[in-house]
Symmetry: C2
Subunit: 214 residues, 2 copies
DNA sequence: TAGATTGTTAATCGATTAACAATC
DNA sequence: TAGATTGTTAATCGATTAACAATC
């Protein structure tokens, strides 16, 4: 395992490799080559080798990488073996779905509890997690030393929730509200922006249809 | 409105501008400068100008861009004024939530109906949309000339659903399953990959905490 | 006119790809 | 040994940023 400061581009591909390696059947060969991974994922083989080299040096000429070791290294580098406790603000449909989703564990995340401004939502969910009044956010975040927050409130309330999170000591925010958030520069906001995703789809479509005509 | 072939990077920022412009209060000035937009969104002002120039030439020195015109141009370029009919495969929690979400209209998308392999799910949802048996996918896609599909099934079934979509004439796929899909090269797959989002958050966190120590 | 702001051309930066030596 | 495969160094490509002329 080498030192960090991986570029964003690399950091976005590493989980894809891990996902693929995890999906290999138990009776698959012990070793896998960068060439195979590249073909399977539609990437360049040099890129795969370079990405993997930035994480470990488990590759052996002629043989490839031992799958189980590679999985371990990737999990370590990506921090999937430690658990990040995370809170959610907004206990609407989305907030509740995120709170209930078990799959986050696979990525080293644990959705601890949700907060909502509507105090009538306070209580336990079906999956045994707590929803608290928003007024308790700061106290509870400090207590549990929460560093990651999810914003699942309407756009209008997102900035004020964001400010409150920053005040509560949160350092990284996963924002599902369709609005740009202003934060101090040591705070990271990752926007889960459906608009962006959808634009890529529809622009591809336009291109395809234009090509067909010409 | 200029010609297309916008780079992916630009295409991902345009919806952010549009979102911001739409969020301006009704009593805001008629015109806005690239400088203001850049500051507000934390981007470079040259970048904003270049991005906007790739879409229109509404900018006037000393004055800036007329907000309402800019919104119209962006909506036109991004295709938000025509409607893309879209189907969803997988009527679990996620599939149903996507089917019910009204907000897609703002991005020119219309979730028409969902399909599920479990035929007991067949019927109307609360929001008046149909869930059909998966076996009817091909027929209905051809009938309605659907070009965009959403995959909201577990990873194990995603590839076969994907193949079926391609067979049904779908050209762009929005994939929520945590697995890489193999498709013919004229088909676009956009992965809504939580693993990728989360990695960026946790790696930022690690950096922040390391800095604090040193 | 002076100055703010645009849009373009050139320079820089970063990421991907190609070429190749090292090695099992 | 021969050949497949790794990892690194250099070349290319694309995107961002800087510099500057045009203009209202």
């Amino acid at each position: 395992m080498k030192q960090n400061s991986l570029s964003k581009a690399v950091l976005e591909r590493l989980p894809v490799y891990l996902q693929y390696l995890r999906s290999l059947p138990a009776n698959a060969p012990e070793n896998i080559s960068a060439t195979t991974i590249a073909n399977e994922l539609g990437l360049g083989e040099v890129q795969v080798r370079k990405d993997l080299a930035s994480v470990c040096n488990l590759g052996r000429p002629r043989i490839g990488y031992m799958v189980s070791c590679l999985i371990n290294e990737l999990e370590a580098v990506l921090g999937y073996n430690k658990i990040n406790d995370t809170i959610i603000v907004g206990a609407g449909k989305l907030g509740k779905a995120l709170l209930a989703y078990e799959g986050f564990k696979n990525y080293g995340f644990n959705m601890v509890s949700a907060f909502d401004i509507d105090e009538s939502k306070t209580g336990l969910t079906e999956t045994g997690k707590n929803i608290y009044p928003l007024s308790e956010l700061k106290k509870r975040c400090k207590e549990m030393q929460i560093k990651i927050g999810v914003i699942a409130v309407p756009a209008e309330q997102a900035q004020s929730v964001c400010d409150l999170m920053v005040e509560s000591g949160i350092l990284a925010i996963w924002n599902f509200a369709p609005i740009h958030l202003n934060v101090p520069k040591n705070i990271l906001v990752h926007n889960e922006n459906m608009a962006t995703s959808l634009v890529l789809l529809s622009s591809h479509l336009t291109e395809q249809l234009n090509e067909r005509q010409s």
